[in-house]
């Protein structure tokens, strides 16, 4: 039997959970699919550095795919079954640029949408360790975080570089 080493991203388990829930598939099946996927990517790279790049890049790839799905689902008004505003292409571009601007070692958010037409990126550990940012087509991003018994919220500008405050909040969400 041949043994192989597979480089998996830190959030592979949560990705499998999400995919299983979304597709109505089994968790074990989705874990196997992800391991196979990263195994194939490992074979594509000849050295450890390339494998790390691929593993990290795949997290971004997942998020961008999810963003594309949300953009499609919310492209018409009323997508929430009520009076939601359609997500604009400019908002999708801004969210995409934000995702690409995250350092590769950062956890990847899940993507959602708010009825006022904002795209949301969420880093979520549990009910009281969670960060959400709202992105529209302008440079303003609105954030809110629950950090145990504390909370933070406000507005930052995204001008091509992810604000340091947001990076610090992400780290706090995942701090032990």
């Amino acid at each position: 039997m041949k043994s192989v080493t597979v480089q998996l991203p830190d959030d592979v388990y949560s990705r499998a959970e999400r995919r299983a829930a979304e597709r109505g598939a089994t968790l074990s099946g989705e874990i196997v699919a992800l391991v196979q996927r990263f195994s194939q990517e490992d074979q594509a790279g000849d050295d450890m550095q390339e494998r790390d790049r691929l593993a990290a890049g795949s997290g971004l790839e997942f998020a961008l795919q999810e963003l594309a799905q949300v953009a499609q689902e919310c492209s018409s008004s009323g997508w929430d079954g009520r009076e939601a505003i359609a997500i604009k292409p400019g908002s999708v571009r801004s969210a995409s640029e934000f995702l690409k601007g995250l350092p590769p070692d950062q956890p990847v958010p899940t993507i959602g949408a708010e009825p006022d037409g904002h795209i949301t990126l969420e880093w979520h550990q549990d009910a009281r360790r969670t960060l959400s940012i709202s992105i529209a087509s302008g440079p303003e991003i609105h954030y809110a975080a629950l950090l145990g018994d504390r909370k933070a919220f406000g507005q930052e500008l995204f001008l091509g570089e992810v604000p340091q405050l947001i990076l610090e909040l992400i780290q706090k969400i995942y701090a032990q």
Binding site: A21, G78, E114, S132, L146, F153
Partner: protein, 140 residues
């Protein structure tokens, strides 16, 4: 039948969920579901005086009018809403409907309250839909 009686602190209210991405894999609810729109109201349905079947039927009616899929509901106690200086205003129609009002105007402040509501909301899946598979606990 309209129910315009004042909402008691212990009353439960349902936010019907018609977008599946508002429900996380662990069956909790994203804050996105509680962002008020059209501002300044968030639409909910009071449980009071309804059987479980009648409550679900109201959700099905909401979804059917669009049409949309009813994935479930997020239940909130009135007290947990008032904790954030919000008010609950019953409306004459539809049946048992109420608006959560008094939201701050600033978007991030709305998000913060929406996160607090999501943190205490209880998700109940629509029993007429196929259930998602049970999730295993997250590894330490």
């Amino acid at each position: 039948m309209e129910n315009l009686s004042p909402v008691a602190d212990e009353e439960l209210m349902a936010r019907f969920l018609l977008y599946n991405r508002w429900i996380r894999a662990d069956q909790s609810v994203r804050a996105d579901a509680f962002v008020p729109h059209p501002y300044p109201d968030l639409s909910v349905t009071r449980h009071i005086g309804l059987t479980p079947d009648e409550l679900w039927q109201l959700g099905i009616d909401v979804a059917g009018a669009r049409p949309a899929t009813l994935y479930g509901r997020a239940d909130l106690q009135a007290m947990s809403v008032r904790l954030h200086a919000l008010e609950i205003d019953p409306t004459a129609t539809p049946r048992n409907h109420a608006n959560i009002t008094g939201w701050p105007t600033e978007k991030s402040a709305q998000k913060s309250i929406a996160q607090e509501l999501a943190a205490v909301a209880i998700f109940v899946a629509n029993p007429t839909r196929k259930e998602t598979p049970p999730l295993l606990p997250r590894p330490a």
